[in-house]
């Protein structure tokens, strides 16, 4: 109790010192958070721009054999079945979900309006594979696919052809070749596309069209970081498929394996460079914050050397002096550290809103969306607080160690 009263008194009587120390800490944390947010903002903008290239997409097309193998002749066409899907999903660690793409050409009607429609039957993962951007509603999910739901995701152009300006498409039923599909989502038009951008669940379309052979499989592969990785993986895939379909593993025309690895690797390189840059800046800020805070703590302790000497002459034990100095610096750094943290987060938020307003509706190549990772913010704040206290602790321990007379005469 008495201890805390002493501490509180020392802090409130030395307002200027308390304020300056506190300000240094608040400022350090404030700047750190604002810069982190700005860095993240740039990163967000870049990833939005590159989002269609930020996954390693693989496509396998069927082909014809060019070499005889195990009694099979040449020119045998290799088509995929559910067996291939199961093989890839269960036996290849880097693949999560495989989506074939099957097509259906039909005629869609809603009330008195109608349009030609070229739709694709796909699985949920296709959203990421084709980078489908939803405007309203949602994409096909696992349940839709499992239960063969008659649901459809339409693109903008089909929406405009079937629905009046005032009609809300979500939840409406449209008829395609005599079957009613419920609209669950609307997606953006693809810029370069030959159609097929209205999506229904794969299982639904497979059932309707009675298809069991597919000429194309798509999936996302994770964990391949280099060109060599990708080449080895392609070979591995070919061997697996050769085994299943009984063709020569060296026969490159039996199936065609394509990937967007080059784009993917390039994008990853850009991402990593930016990320590294942001981390370096953040780290530099953190270091300069620590140095600033440490300096001010060192100076205040130096300033107090006389006081320490006097207290020792009056019979204070080193431990007691050290405890009060450390507690004081802990209180200052914690309180002002959190003030700086909140101010920084508010500034990042406000800055983000202003930027969003400015960028709204404009054709800008890079949208900067500041954002903060609360865990990093908390960690940085905690680190600064710990460093501030340590920076106060060591000089205080030195000041307490020297002979009282030296401390008293210190100038």
């Amino acid at each position: 109790m008495d201890f805390w009263q002493e501490i509180f008194m020392a802090l409130s009587r030395n307002k200027l010192r308390t304020f300056l120390t506190g300000f240094a800490i608040s400022w350090g944390i404030f700047i750190l958070i604002v810069l982190l947010a700005a860095g993240n903002g740039i990163m967000n903008g870049v990833s939005e721009q590159f989002s269609d290239k930020s996954t390693n997409v693989y496509m396998i097309y069927s082909g014809e054999t060019s070499k005889p193998f195990k009694g099979h002749g040449t020119n045998r066409s290799i088509m995929f079945t559910d067996k291939d899907i199961r093989l890839l999903e269960t036996e290849v660690r880097n693949i999560d979900q495989v989506s074939p793409r099957i097509y259906f050409n039909g005629f869609a009607t809603f009330n008195d309006k109608s349009s030609r429609v070229f739709m694709s039957g796909v699985r949920p993962v296709f959203k990421d594979i084709n980078n489908v951007k939803m405007m309203e509603g949602r994409f096909i999910n696992e349940l839709d696919d499992k239960n063969r739901e008659k649901v459809i995701v339409i693109d903008e152009s089909l929406r405009d052809k079937l629905f009046d300006e005032g009609t809300f498409p979500l939840g409406q039923f449209i008829f395609i070749s005599g079957i009613a599909y419920k609209v669950i989502g609307v997606c953006e038009n693809l810029e370069y596309s030959s159609g097929g951008n209205d999506y229904v669940p794969f299982s639904t379309l497979k059932n309707i069209t009675r298809q069991s052979k597919y000429w194309m499989l798509n999936f996302i592969v994770t964990g391949l970081e280099t060109k060599e990785d990708n080449e080895a993986f392609t070979e591995y895939l070919r061997t697996k498929l050769a085994h299943l379909h009984e063709f020569d593993p060296d026969d490159t025309s039996a199936v065609y394996i394509r990937s967007r690895q080059e784009e993917y690797l390039q994008t990853m390189k850009i991402f990593n460079t930016i990320q590294l840059f942001i981390w370096i800046i953040g780290f530099a800020m953190l270091i300069s914050g620590i140095v600033g805070v440490s300096n001010i703590m060192r100076i205040t302790v130096k300033e107090r050397t006389n006081e320490i000497g006097i207290r020792k002459a009056l019979g204070a034990k080193s431990r007691s002096i050290l405890a009060s100095i450390v507690t004081e610096s802990l209180i200052i750094t914690t309180i002002f550290g959190y003030i700086g943290m909140w101010l920084g987060m508010i500034a990042a938020e406000v800055g983000g809103n202003i930027l969003a307003k400015v960028q709204e509706g404009k054709e800008i190549s890079l949208n900067i969306v500041p954002s903060i990772d609360i865990r990093i913010v908390l960690m940085a704040t905690a680190l600064l607080i710990v460093c501030g206290v340590l920076a106060g602790f060591f000089p205080a321990r030195n000041a307490v160690k020297i002979k009282p007379i030296e401390a008293m005469n210190y100038r």
Partner: protein
């Protein structure tokens, strides 16, 4: 009360400086002595050793019957806190504490509770005519007032020994006389007192004058302070 045997002290600066060269000294309980000597003769050094503010290189120092040697920091702090009161030329008050809080500080380190501390501090300030100044900060006080605050602080713990390093060094002759009168009164209560001074007028108001020269005790002069009128200004 105080016994020094062959005390040696050397400062190891750019050049080693042998400041105290085998000091032997015995000061009995309740004695009031002064130390005189030329500047640089080692007076402050000696007093700091007596106050356990500094250490010595060789010899033995007994304070209140206890050997002061190789003490732990905590033991030294306890001895200072319980046995010794300091009065300095430059007062050494803590600037952000009021007169009362400065006086109460040594009691804080004796774990006396706040109420009792402040009450005792006020009592001592009143004794030295500073009751109205209790809530003032050191920079609002005159030199004489500051020195009276520091005397109150030195006495509030009932120490056995008062060590004063040129207590009147920063004061005019009238205020010096007042301070000496207070110290004399304090001495009357039986406290041992050692005063370092340059002024013979001050030294004559003590029982003995220890003359220090080049790190050795040159001679000890016995006074008869009863013949001196303490109300008189010091010449």
């Amino acid at each position: 009360m105080i016994r020094l045997e062959k005390i040696n002290k050397t400062y190891f600066g750019a050049q080693p400086l042998h400041v105290l060269k085998g000091i032997n000294l015995h000061i009995k309980e309740g004695e009031m002595v002064s130390i005189m000597g030329a500047s640089g003769s080692g007076k402050s050094t000696l007093l700091n050793i007596l106050g356990i503010l500094d250490n010595y290189d060789s010899g033995d120092y007994y304070l209140n019957g206890q050997l002061v040697k190789n003490l732990t920091e905590n033991q030294a702090a306890d001895m200072r806190n319980q046995l010794i009161g300091f009065i300095f030329q430059s007062f050494n008050l803590i600037p952000f504490k009021t007169a009362m809080e400065n006086v109460a500080l040594p009691l804080y380190y004796q774990n006396v509770n706040r109420k009792k501390r402040n009450q005792l501090a006020l009592e001592y300030l009143e004794r030295f005519g500073l009751k109205e100044w209790a809530d003032h900060y050191p920079n609002e006080l005159s030199g004489g007032q500051k020195q009276r605050v520091s005397m109150a602080r030195a006495l509030v713990t009932h120490p056995k020994v008062i060590l004063a390093d040129e207590p009147t060094g920063a004061l005019d002759s009238k205020t010096s006389a007042e301070v000496m009168q207070i110290l004399r009164e304090v001495h009357q209560t039986g406290i041992t007192m050692i005063i370092v001074t340059h002024e013979r007028g001050i030294a004559l108001r003590t029982d003995k004058i220890i003359h220090l020269k080049d790190g050795v005790i040159e001679n000890i002069e016995i006074n008869n302070p009863e013949t001196i009128d303490f109300t008189q200004e010091i010449k």
